[in-house]
């Protein structure tokens, strides 16, 4: 029975990957075809060539892309739930499960945000990162569905890890936006934005959005670290022990604290703030990849 559910989960995850790939193609099509070929503008005298964006031509592609995204989300949701049933615990007991749940959270956050704002320019990026995450998870990180090791068998697994997953997702989203800021800033300093980039929000909004996301999720990250400390006290006999994972969680916390201070108290904006944001986000990513895969310490479980 246990393995049946694990198989069902794998089928769901594979199908979700297929659908996300279609969504990615539709997003790519939309982005590419929204740009009209250079044409002579009748009103202008002479040879002014203009490129313009025309989304009415690609509205259908955009709708297909979003529909695929929703379908992919539902399939992945099925995969995550089936995985949880097969293992009889919350589906983040190892790095494979953490990755598929993280991909689900990212898609969910995007779709939720889509209800209020037209963020479809992000869809291309979201679909490719979800694809990459799932691909890495299923090829490199896959482990047989198994019960939890005793150290993980605690209600704190739910609380601590959910907080960490959500914070991580939002930190990464904010990083993407800060990255987009730097890229567009460099583009604008050379002249006008390229046609495909015209649909992206202006620099000011990107700067603000990136900051808002961090400010929103920083307390949650603080909570994730504290919940981890409470759990560590119950499991390992100390609430803080400078285990590599703890150390890097602390470094991420300090880096984002510095970022918030730099913005709120000193008034950093734009480029400098974006770089600092990228730096802070990279410490989180480093923690996730390095400490889980190559690191030592108490946070390495069950293979990965």
């Amino acid at each position: 029975m246990q393995t049946t559910w694990a198989y069902i989960s794998n089928y769901f995850v594979y199908s979700a990957m297929g659908i996300f790939a279609l969504s990615f193609l539709a997003h790519a099509f939309e982005t590419a075809w929204a740009v009209k070929a250079p044409q002579k503008d009748a009103n202008e005298s002479g040879s002014v060539l203009t490129k313009t964006l025309d989304y009415t031509r690609t509205e259908r592609a955009a709708r297909i892309a979003t529909a695929m995204m929703i379908l992919g989300f539902l399939l992945l949701l099925g995969g995550v739930i089936a995985r949880g049933i097969s293992a009889k615990h919350v589906p983040w007991g190892n790095m494979y499960e953490f990755s598929i749940t993280g991909a689900l959270a990212l898609t969910g956050a995007y779709l939720l945000a889509l209800r209020k704002h037209d963020l479809r320019w992000l869809g291309l990026f979201i679909s490719i990162s979800v694809l990459l995450t799932l691909g890495t998870a299923i090829t490199l990180l896959y482990r047989e569905s198994a019960p939890l090791v005793p150290a993980l068998n605690s209600p704190w697994l739910v609380i601590h890890v959910i907080a960490a997953i959500i914070s991580g997702g939002v930190f990464l989203l904010s990083n993407v936006i800060a990255g987009a800021y730097l890229y567009l800033d460099a583009m604008e300093s050379k002249g006008d934005r390229k046609p495909w980039a015209k649909r992206l929000p202006d620099l000011e909004s990107l700067d603000q959005l990136s900051y808002r996301l961090v400010a929103f999720v920083f307390p949650l990250w603080t909570f994730a670290v504290i919940a981890g400390a409470i759990w560590a006290e119950a499991a390992w006999g100390r609430y803080w022990g400078w285990d590599p994972k703890e150390t890097w969680a602390f470094i991420t916390w300090v880096a984002y604290a510095a970022y918030l201070h730099a913005r709120v108290t000193i008034g950093w904006r734009g480029k400098r703030a974006a770089w600092l944001c990228l730096f802070a986000g990279s410490t989180f990513l480093f923690n996730y990849v390095y400490v889980n895969v190559w690191g030592t310490g108490k946070h390495t479980y069950s293979g990965l």
Binding site: E144, A146, P147, L148, V149, P150, A151, N153, S154, W156, A215, F216, F218, P219, T222, F223, I226, A229, I230, W231, E233, A234, A235, W236, G237, R238, Y239, W240, G241, W242, D243, P244, T247, W248, F250, I251, V254, A255, A257, A258, H261, A262, V264, T265, I266, T283, V291, G295, T296, G297, S302
Partner: protein, 491 residues
């Protein structure tokens, strides 16, 4: 001339004041914060003595020259090193210097009235002007009261302010960081931490001599030990038959508190330690202790009892040593224990499952000097065989024995052992409350919006409304819109 005589005095206090101002400036605090993050990095790459003393020892063996250099910069004890301490102590002084004056100012500001309505409201944010009917001030008064603004009534105008929670939260957050630091300090000054390996069936009495290792905070000593007795009645480890991964560890213990004649049966699991007041007992590790009887050539028992072996992998392949110092010459067994034995190529063995399904004890027997009197601390799991000679080699199942010219050894049976970690941290309560307060403060400071709203009725009866949002907090326009809608409503 007089300036020359007063200069040194002014210079000293001036310098101090200058340094204090520099230290408590936001920029310095920010740099210190970044430095703290950077300073924490090396400790995650270099093995730390507090976390992994074995790895540090290995580092010394692998590259002694580099290790000495790392030691010179406290690289193996980063988090208690002078430079790491210097950074966080400076940071906290800077923080206190920043937060205390602000707390005082904030306290005064909260009791003061909102500032006077500016003369020219049209320069402020969300300015609106409309013809009124004279009832606006009363309506405004009730709206401010309902929305819990702090209000200053003036001649034909009202100045209102809200959102002090933001600064309150901000200060609470920073003050709670200090509380967390106090908690950490109390723990390291008054705390205690010890470990003991206890075989199933044995009793552990909490006395300084019963611990395998024991360390105290700087301001406490052995007298503060909680005297209790723990008898390990049973220990059960469950493993997954497919992946060999552990599923559950349960130790059943009989606990006797000091001065009590009755004892109670309790269970200890990995995530649920045993608690006596501030002291907690954790189940940290487990392994096997082979029980052996070693006899000398005359048949006299030279050594008998369970000997804890150190697990080397997930299937509990374990190594250990059996030392018989009273024999002449001394005898030592370099041994390994496999709970479920399988051959591994030549003469070596591995364990293929952590439960004892087919246990086997492999050993080589050595004769000579065990080096116990050399004064160099020795591992209980290993033997330095440099001054010894190997005399035999064998493997035994439980109940079997082996004879050699100098005596015999019988592998009677085996018992599990558990490693109990006993921790007393009187500071953790402070840290926990500090952490909770920090989160609440953080939420208030990040989501609180401080803003002012003014209303004035000019001599001609025109109503003017405007506002000001601190730190560019969003939502002021919408709020003023609601305010104006209320003002225009019929009573």
């Amino acid at each position: 001339m007089s300036t020359e005589t007063t200069l040194p005095e002014l210079g000293a206090t001036g310098l101090l004041r200058f340094m204090w101002r520099q230290l408590t400036s936001m920029r310095t605090a920010l740099i210190l914060l970044m430095m703290l993050g950077v300073a924490a990095i090396p400790g995650s790459f270099i093995p730390q003595r507090a976390q992994n003393p074995m790895a540090v020892r290995q580092y010394y063996l692998d590259s002694p020259e580099l290790a000495r250099w790392i030691e010179r910069f406290s690289g193996f004890t980063v988090y208690s090193s002078p430079w790491f301490s210097a950074i966080y102590i400076l940071l906290f002084i800077s923080l206190i210097g920043c937060v205390l004056p602000r707390t005082f100012e904030h306290f005064q500001a909260m009791r003061a009235l909102p500032p006077l309505t500016p003369r020219n409201l049209s320069r402020m944010e969300s300015f609106q002007r409309f013809a009124g009917d004279g009832s606006e001030l009363t309506k405004a008064q009730s709206w401010f009261k309902k929305s819990r603004f702090r209000v200053r009534s003036e001649e034909g105008a009202i100045s209102a302010e809200k959102g002090y929670l933001r600064e309150t939260g901000n200060l609470l957050f920073h003050l709670s960081l200090i509380l967390i630091l106090i908690g950490v300090s109390v723990g390291s000054l008054f705390g205690m931490r010890g470990e003991a390996i206890v075989n199933k069936g044995e009793r552990f009495i909490s006395l300084a001599t019963s611990y395998d290792n024991l360390s105290f905070g700087k301001l406490v000593n052995e007298d503060s030990l909680q005297p209790f007795i723990i008898e390990v009645v049973d220990f059960v480890a469950k493993y997954d038959p497919v992946t060999n991964a552990p599923q559950d560890y349960t130790a059943t213990v009989r606990v006797t508190n000091p001065g009590e004649s009755t004892s109670t049966i309790k269970t200890i699991k990995v995530n649920s330690p045993l608690t006596f007041g501030n002291t907690r007992v954790y189940l940290q590790a487990n392994g096997y202790s082979p029980i052996v009887t070693v006899r000398d050539s005359t048949g006299q028992v030279a050594l008998q009892g369970p000997i804890p072996f150190l697990p080397q992998d997930g299937n509990l392949s374990s190594i250990g040593s059996i030392k018989v110092p009273d024999a002449n010459p001394q005898i030592g067994f370099v041994a390994s224990f496999y709970p479920t034995f399988a051959r591994n190529g030549g003469q070596g063995g591995i364990s293929v499952f952590p439960e004892a399904l087919d246990p086997k004890l492999l050993f080589s027997i050595w004769e000579g000097d065990l080096g116990l009197d050399s004064g160099i601390p020795q591992s209980v799991y290993r033997i330095d065989t440099s001054k010894m000679k190997r005399i035999a080699l064998d493997s035994l199942k439980p109940g079997e024995s082996f004879s050699y010219p100098q005596g015999s050894i019988k592998f009677e049976t085996f018992v599990p052992w558990i490693n109990l970690q006993i921790v007393d941290d009187p500071g953790k309560g402070y840290s926990l409350y500090g952490a909770i307060a920090a989160i609440l403060g953080l939420l208030a400071s990040l989501f609180g919006r401080r803003r002012r709203i003014w209303i004035r009725i000019t001599s001609t009866g025109v109503v003017e409304v405007a506002g000001l949002a601190k730190n560019g907090a969003p939502g002021l326009d919408a709020e003023i819109e609601r305010f104006v809608t209320h003002l225009k409503k019929e009573m």
